[in-house]
């Protein structure tokens, strides 16, 4: 049974929309609005990174903000020291990935369960937040770059074209870069989950015991997806440091981590579009809340999180996806019925059954065991 969410049609559709937005928006938006678009896209990359490790790898990381912040700080420190931004850009991906792999090693090879995983990642985020926050004095610097403590690092040089230090990216260029990073990430992850490795990653999430018995080292696959998630979050962090030419410890904060989780859970687990949709919707909402005084943004975000966990554990996109899938299957059944007009006995009847029960969020995934099989 081919499902719409897994088909290449949906991937092509998403890419087409993405490319249309990427080349369409700069035409219709002024520079300020375009920069808003850039931050949405940066956060969407961050959302996708968690959407991947949580929705496909089954790893609930409460500290995705740690990798995000680490990426942005790495870029800031490296670019201040080096001048040319090519190596810092790569470092901003490599350092969080390395950090994620060390942390992942401690967690997965210690065989800690998902609950402990959540608490440890939360703790690590807090450690980083406390550490960076306390580096305010002039004695705290790496090379020429003062860390600035709670004041953050202002005036970070923007990315330049590789090798040409004087040619920095304009805000428009940054938008193109961010959108292409988002689309490449999306496409890369889609390819990954349809490859053999990807299937094993999903299988580990579905039933770790069984995959161990089949002879796969589940810990390695988890470590791989966790590291990849860290790298993607680092990329988003690097772009974030570029976006405002500023980074501060607040991006390590619990509120930031909470936001990422809310994006993913609102958008929907087990899809890559979901986190993007959730991210854009929640970001937009937060901005709207910021313009009025009646409701505090924490209050609204908290209420959204509780309501979604209780009432819509699948998230928005998979719920919509079910509708699309129904149409898709209807069309397929119709086509098959036409083919089967010539008598073909013993042909199994194709029928679509929507999952009737709502499983827990961790398992609330549109991709089920038939893909893992």
């Amino acid at each position: 049974m081919n499902r719409f969410a897994q088909s290449w049609v949906s991937a092509a559709l998403v890419l087409a929309i993405g490319i249309a937005l990427m080349f369409g928006l700069p035409g219709v938006m002024d520079e300020y609005t375009l920069m808003q678009g850039t931050i949405y896209a940066i956060m969407a990359i961050l959302g996708v990174s968690l959407g991947f490790i949580w929705g496909f790898g089954g790893i609930l990381c409460f500290g995705q903000a740690a990798f995000f912040g680490l990426g942005s700080y790495t870029y800031a420190v490296a670019v201040v020291n080096m001048g040319d931004s090519t190596v810092p850009f790569m470092l901003a991906i490599a350092v969080p990935a390395l950090f994620a792999s060390i942390l992942g090693y401690l967690i997965f090879f210690g065989r800690l369960s998902d609950v402990y995983m959540g608490v440890i990642t939360l703790t690590v985020t807090l450690i980083l937040f406390n550490l960076i926050n306390s580096t305010a004095g002039p004695e705290w610097k790496i090379g020429n770059a003062p860390l600035g403590g709670f004041n953050g690092i202002p005036g970070i040089p923007t990315l330049n074209f590789p090798g040409q230090v004087d040619k920095a990216l304009s805000p428009g260029d940054l938008f193109y870069l961010t959108m292409s990073c988002l689309l490449v990430t999306y496409l890369g992850l889609r390819c990954l989950i349809s490859s053999k490795i990807g299937r094993v990653i999903i299988a580990v999430k579905e039933n770790e015991q069984r995959i161990l018995l089949l002879g796969y080292d589940a810990r390695l696959y988890k470590l791989f997806s966790f590291t990849l998630g860290g790298a993607i979050a680092g990329l988003a962090g690097c772009l974030f440091a570029n976006w405002g030419a500023f980074t501060s410890p607040t991006i390590f904060s619990l509120a930031q981590s909470a936001q990422i989780i809310i994006w993913v859970i609102v958008g929907g687990l087990g899809t890559f579009v979901g986190p993007v949709v959730g991210c854009v919707a929640i970001q937009w909402l937060t901005t709207q809340i910021g313009t009025q005084q009646t409701f505090n943004s924490n209050l609204v975000l908290g209420a959204i999180l509780v309501v979604f966990v209780l009432l819509v554990p699948r998230g928005v996109v998979p719920s919509l996806g079910l509708v699309l899938e129904w149409i898709w299957n209807k069309l397929k059944t119709k086509a098959m019925a036409e083919n089967a007009a010539c008598p073909q006995p013993l042909l199994p009847e194709v029928k679509f059954t929507a999952p009737s029960q709502t499983p827990s969020t961790a398992n609330a995934i549109s991709i089920t065991k038939e893909q893992a099989a």
């Binding site: 608490v119 440890i120 306390s134 859970i265 609204v300 209420a303 999180l305």
Partner: protein, 288 residues
């Protein structure tokens, strides 16, 4: 000599405050296997309960030991009925929902009290050991921690209530068959846990600034202590508090308070790699 005593008192104090911070969580997590990420906000509510009571002219001790636990316990009952009840057995979902609750509570309190720091001054003054001055309130915290530990032990082991609670946690359907309603027991246990958190918040109100976001500073420490402690509620709580409190205080003494916290959390992560089941998963098995 004087310095040794002072450092010893400080270490005891660090251990005691970890016990106080974590006891509410230990009851809720240890008994019900519910990860309550709103624990820090329960403490925050307790602290605000003390602040508000004092504004109404109520005695500080009454506010701390009676009003804060009762108020937060009531909040706990309401939240358990509305949210937590629907999520028993779904650990990850509970974690997310309680995190949502924590944001919600921060939001509510910020809307009411504003994002400003309130505070009460520590009562009782201080006494001196040689050339060093120690706040008497430190001793109160240590005393309360000891009393709390004993009380939890007595209630769970020696009373009818404790027996019913432990039985229900082990086999809810059997308890149900014997005429005990598990849902009531869950409610009560959650309320007790919440009121312990409220008590902790009230006790710490004179020591920390009271802001709506103060819970974040405690929740990670509390979790690390409870999880590091392992399956036995009381033995785990005490052993993990002792270990982490001592590490924290010694590192603080040698470097800065921030690095002390970092040392605590770092030690906890390393320890969980070595003892994934927590301290009582390996040692003191079968204790409470």
């Amino acid at each position: 000599m004087d310095l040794t005593i002072v450092v010893l008192i400080q270490v005891l104090y660090a251990v005691a405050s970890l016990v106080i911070i974590s006891s509410g969580l230990a009851v809720i997590f240890g008994m019900m296997k519910v990860i309550n990420l709103a624990h820090g906000e329960f403490m925050m509510l307790g602290a605000y309960a003390v602040i508000v009571s004092i504004r109404f002219g109520i005695n500080l001790w009454v506010a701390m030991f009676i009003i804060a636990p009762v108020a937060v316990g009531l909040v706990g009952v309401v939240l358990e009925r509305l949210v937590i009840r629907r999520l028993y057995g779904r650990m990850v979902d509970t974690m997310l929902a309680t995190w949502g609750l924590s944001l919600l509570l921060i939001g509510v309190v910020t809307s009411i009290a504003g994002n400003t720091t309130a505070g009460v001054s520590a009562p009782l003054g201080s006494f001196t050991i040689g050339a060093y001055s120690v706040s008497s309130y430190t001793l109160v915290i240590i005393g309360v921690a000891v009393a709390l530990g004993l009380a939890i032990r007595l209630v769970l082991l020696r009373t009818q209530l404790g027996l019913i609670a432990r039985g229900t946690m082990q086999k809810p359907d059997m308890a149900n068959a014997l005429g005990i309603s598990p849902s009531v027991v869950y409610s009560v246990t959650f309320a007790v846990g919440a009121s312990l958190s409220g008590l902790a918040g009230g006790l710490l109100a004179p020591l920390t600034g009271v802001v709506p976001t103060m819970g974040g500073a405690f929740v990670a420490k509390a979790f690390i202590t409870v999880i590091g402690g392992g399956p036995a509620i009381l033995a785990g709580l005490v052993s993990a508090s002792t270990l982490f409190g001592a590490i924290n205080q010694v590192a603080t003494f040698l470097t800065t308070p921030v690095l002390g916290e970092v040392a605590l959390l770092g030690a906890a992560i390393v320890m969980l790699r070595l003892l994934p089941q927590g301290i009582t998963g390996r040692f003191f098995k079968g204790t409470l």
